[in-house]
């Protein structure tokens, strides 16, 4: 274990399934023995934590897990059970949506903008305390410290037009060639300026089911090429609903006098995501729906899932803060 290794160590288990899997990952991933029934019987938080860990093996992994674990068949078998279960749960929440016969981009934009989920950003703008904002940032760090990575999995699965557009969007997310402008790095710098840990997953143990599931859904959509429509629909909803709330956060963070780095991080997203939302809806999703019409409904499913997951997290957080959502 290197002292310069910036990867996290495994989080704490949340039940018998994760306890068993985490132990096997540390010691002998290839020798893991877990039957499907044990996976199916796991409590939701136990299952979500286990899936988060297993999907994380396809990102940068953990200091205390051998890198060979990612492709060990018994580890993949558990991951697959949990992914199938998660997808079924996400689809059970999806009310469906008529695929538009024309002007796909406008219909998708409208669908996303019609969402009226609770807004944490509006509350931060006017009321949140510093302590509450730091809690929000710790929860958000699970995603933002690897910002944009889940969508990158989708890139090679796309046809020409959406691929070029996604590459263009991701190039901006990854700093347009400048490592110091990587969005994930800007977030890490802001965390450091606030006295928080920049190690990925450092705050996972305090994150509730809703945060785990939100991150798991993004990784599932990215990692499974069959779900490329959902992945890009999720990206579109994320980008379309980013700029205006980021503006609320900028004003709230300034109101509280928090470090300029975190203000700058959200100010960057006000402008960047006013580009990315257009790319995601018009040049990625609309063209994907034209090239691969069988993916069209999943684009809406992915957008819905993004909005639904965001609403679930917002209700949980605002509930903790005693705010009616």
């Amino acid at each position: 274990m290197s002292t310069t290794d910036s990867r996290p160590t495994l989080p704490s288990p949340r039940g018998s399934l994760s306890e068993r899997i985490l132990q096997a990952l540390r010691t002998d991933p290839g020798g893991l023995v877990t039957d499907a029934a044990a996976v199916a019987l796991a409590e939701p938080e136990d299952a979500a934590l286990t899936l988060w860990v297993l999907q994380e093996l396809s990102y940068r992994g953990f200091q205390d897990v051998p890198e060979t674990a990612e492709w060990e068949p018994p580890v993949l078998a558990v991951r697959r059970h949990l992914q199938v279960d998660l997808e079924a749960r996400l689809r059970s929440r999806w009310p469906g949506h008529q695929v538009p016969e024309s002007d796909f981009a406008e219909a998708l934009l409208q669908f996303i903008q019609d969402d009226d989920g609770p807004s944490v950003a509006s509350y931060v703008h006017t009321h949140a305390t510093e302590e509450q904002v730091l809690e929000l940032l710790r929860w958000r760090s699970i995603y933002h410290l690897k910002e944009a990575d889940p969508s990158t999995w989708t890139l090679p699965r796309l046809t020409r037009g959406p691929k070029a557009a996604l590459a263009e969007l991701q190039y901006d997310e990854y700093g347009a060639g400048r490592p110091d402008r990587l969005h994930a790095h800007l977030f890490a710098e802001a965390m450091a300026a606030l006295g928080l840990s920049t190690r990925p997953g450092a705050y996972l143990d305090e994150c509730p089911l809703e945060v785990l599931e939100m991150n798991n859904a993004m990784s599932l959509f990215g990692l499974d090429g069959r779900l490329r429509g959902a992945s890009m629909g999720h990206l579109a909803a994320f980008e379309v609903t980013s700029s205006v709330p980021s503006g609320h956060l900028v004003r709230g963070l300034r109101r509280l006098g928090l470090a300029e780095e975190i203000v700058e991080y959200y100010a960057e997203h006000v402008i960047a995501d006013s580009v990315h939302d257009q790319l995601a809806t018009r040049l990625i999703c609309a063209v994907l729906a034209e090239d691969e019409p069988e993916q069209a409904e999943d684009i809406f499913f992915g957008a819905f899932t993004c909005l639904d997951q965001e609403a679930r997290c917002a209700r949980t957080l605002l509930g903790r803060w005693g705010v009616a959502a």
């Binding site: 901006d172 347009a176 960047a272 006013s274 580009v275 939302d277 790319l279």
Partner: protein
């Protein structure tokens, strides 16, 4: 309307987004209608067309909060 009379670098590509901004690809600067050149550091940049952005000349998505009949066509 801010970006109707846009000045582009030779390599510029443009895309008008109905109800939203003007996207410019591959430009190193953007000259606004007052003749002021703004440096561009993104592969694609969105220029405000509604006139209400708080970060002119760039779009900040304020158009999303305008009633549809007040958004740029």
């Amino acid at each position: 309307m801010i970006a109707d009379d846009v000045t582009l670098d030779d390599s510029g590509e443009t895309m008008v987004c109905p109800g939203g901004p003007l996207l410019l690809r591959g430009v190193s600067s953007y000259t606004d209608e007052a003749g002021i050149a703004h440096r561009v550091e993104r592969p694609v940049v969105a220029v405000c067309r509604c006139g209400y952005s708080g970060s002119l000349p760039w779009c900040d998505s304020t158009h999303k909060r305008l009633p549809p009949d007040r958004r740029p066509s």
